[in-house]
């Protein structure tokens, strides 16, 4: 029983990362109908930026602030810088294509290739040696019976829920969120209403990439080894989680991320760990067979 609770806590932590990344996928998809395949690698860049910020800028080799200050200043700084990377990507790669009215597929290919460039560029620049992330938080363990909870786990889970709440508020209650939903509803009529489409899209990328940066920082704190390909696998899986939830829907991404986290952790807990991907993907495929547009997705009827 205790093992089950322990696994549930771990699954909540693991699912939080998936949920954070899947939220970024969903935001961009909801507005642009574009699968931003580079998002997983933006998460990886976020982790590296977090490393750079917390070691070379604020940390031991920079200003040498105390740990709590590094954490407090590092999180917003990482988010801002990662958001800058995401917006740069949008400016350089996606916007020209959108202006030309290119086929959606070409944009997807471009995104895929940008992800590869980020991964391998990182490998070429920084070398293949893995980076050790410094410990920024004093580890405190709370034990409830046999279940142990660290403060970091609580922070990660809390961050995921907080981000979900913030995004939900932005998309459903604010003017800019209304503009986002409007663009996804009809992108031809919206500019005629005086809504600045490009600004809204940039804001979307800022949100998505910023939260990917947050996820990168938290991930680096939880599993303090960084390598250039860490974003690829997590990115693909988070994307699949977003689709299972119903892509373009914020609740769907959140639920899908946690669902995938739970499936993976419970498979590892009760089966041989090598079967993780096989069982997880099989379950997701079955879900997609049952509900082809995901759990929260709405079937769209095409007009003839």
């Amino acid at each position: 029983m205790e093992a089950l609770f322990q696994n549930i806590i771990n699954a909540l932590q693991w699912g939080s990362f998936y949920a954070l990344i899947a939220l970024g996928y969903t935001l961009v998809y909801g507005v642009l109908l574009l699968i931003n395949f580079a998002h997983g690698d933006i998460f990886m860049v976020g982790a590296y930026i977090a490393f750079g910020v917390s070691v070379f800028v604020l940390g031991v080799q920079g200003l040498d602030l105390p740990n709590w200050a590094v954490l407090a200043c590092g999180v917003p700084l990482t988010m801002i810088l990662t958001a800058g990377v995401g917006v740069t990507l949008e400016r350089i790669a996606y916007r020209p294509l959108r202006r030309k009215g290119a086929h959606r597929l070409y944009v997807v290919i471009t995104a895929l290739m940008c992800g590869l460039i980020l991964e391998n560029g990182n490998l070429a620049l920084l070398g293949a040696s893995r980076k050790k992330f410094p410990e920024l938080m004093e580890k405190t363990v709370w034990s409830l019976g046999d279940v142990s909870v660290t403060n970091l786990k609580v922070l990660v889970i809390f961050a995921a829920f907080a981000v979900f709440g913030i995004l939900n508020f932005i998309v459903t209650r604010t003017r800019i969120g209304m503009a986002m939903r409007a663009i996804s509803y009809d992108k031809f009529a919206i500019p005629l209403m005086g809504i600045p489409v490009d600004t809204i899209i940039v804001f979307t990328f800022v949100l998505g990439s910023g939260f990917a940066g947050l996820a990168g920082m938290l991930f680096a704190m939880s599993y303090p080894i960084l390598e250039p390909y860490m974003g690829a696998l997590i990115g693909w899986k988070a994307f699949i989680a977003a689709v299972v939830g119903g892509i373009g829907d914020i609740r769907g991404a959140f639920v899908g991320g946690f669902l995938l986290g739970f499936i993976e952790i419970l498979v590892v807990a009760f089966f041989p760990s090598t079967l993780r991907d096989l069982i997880a993907f099989s379950i997701l495929l079955v879900i997609l067979w049952m509900k082809p547009t995901g759990l929260f997705g709405i079937a769209r009827h095409q007009k003839i």
Binding site: A93, K100, I109, N120, R276, L288
Partner: protein, 337 residues
Amino acid sequence: MKKYTINIAFLAGCLLIVLGAQAGLFNLYIQSVILFMGINIILSTSLNLVNGSMGEFSCGHAAFMCVGAYVSSVVTVLLFAQNKILGAPLLPPELAPFFFPIAIIIGGAVAALVGILVAVPSFKTRGDYLAIITIAVNYMVISGLENLDIIGGPRGFMGMKQVVYAMTDVADIPWMMIWTLLGTAFTLWILRRYTSSTFGKGVNAICQDEIAAEIMSVNTDRIKLVTFMLSSGLAGVAGGLFAHVIGYVNPQSFNILKSTECLVMVYLGGMGSLTGAAMSAVLFTLLLEALRPLQIIKWVIIPLILVLLMQFRPEGIMGNKELSDVFPKLKRYFSFK
């Protein structure tokens, strides 16, 4: 005469390559580049059938290649090679040249059966959701093979070189070159015949407008099933050849990166263009070899080329046209149906 020019030219080219390899005009490195060209042509043209002609977005092509590679390798090693796990060869090695193509075809057939995994969901879903399903199938195949300890699991599987040596013992000619060229010729022929047949016209109809095609009495489900199976079966053939050329396979050599390579070749060549896909496979192989001294920077430059291509010439080299559409005068000399 016009009907046969292209076949004769192709055959003459293949003969020249084989004779050159036999006479030692090309060293082993050039031979291996030619072999990879053939394998890449099979991969890119078969993916082009789904991604270009049918307009779906499949990005897990390496999964079928993986199945074909493993199945054909296990069959040939079981029959003709001494292996720690599978034991002594079951057949005398003199029979290797005759059973090798059968093993490759078995690999392709099993890969085609795995293709049903993708084909059945594609009846209902399109676009992004289908892309997910293909990626998931890619992960599942790799993960499944890594858990099969009987064929080596994550350590990979070897012993295919012994089969190739068994063939060269029968007759000392470049066997793998011959089989690869035959496979390439077969692929190009069957794809051309398929897309220009009455049944295969439906493939392009699905690309243009699926609902309209359905209304105009095109049996879209059946066409999707056949097309996916043909595409994945050919990828399985490519995988089988690949395994025997390298002599070693492991599941991780068929991951998403390999699938991405296939995608790069298709979009470099131009969607829906058979000659474009073949040409871009040749170009891509040469590019990989030319950039080899740059090591890891190679994988920055190749995606960069594709990004620039999408910006400035998104339709690829050929852009949905065949060679004879670009140079109409060529039509006088051959007809390729």
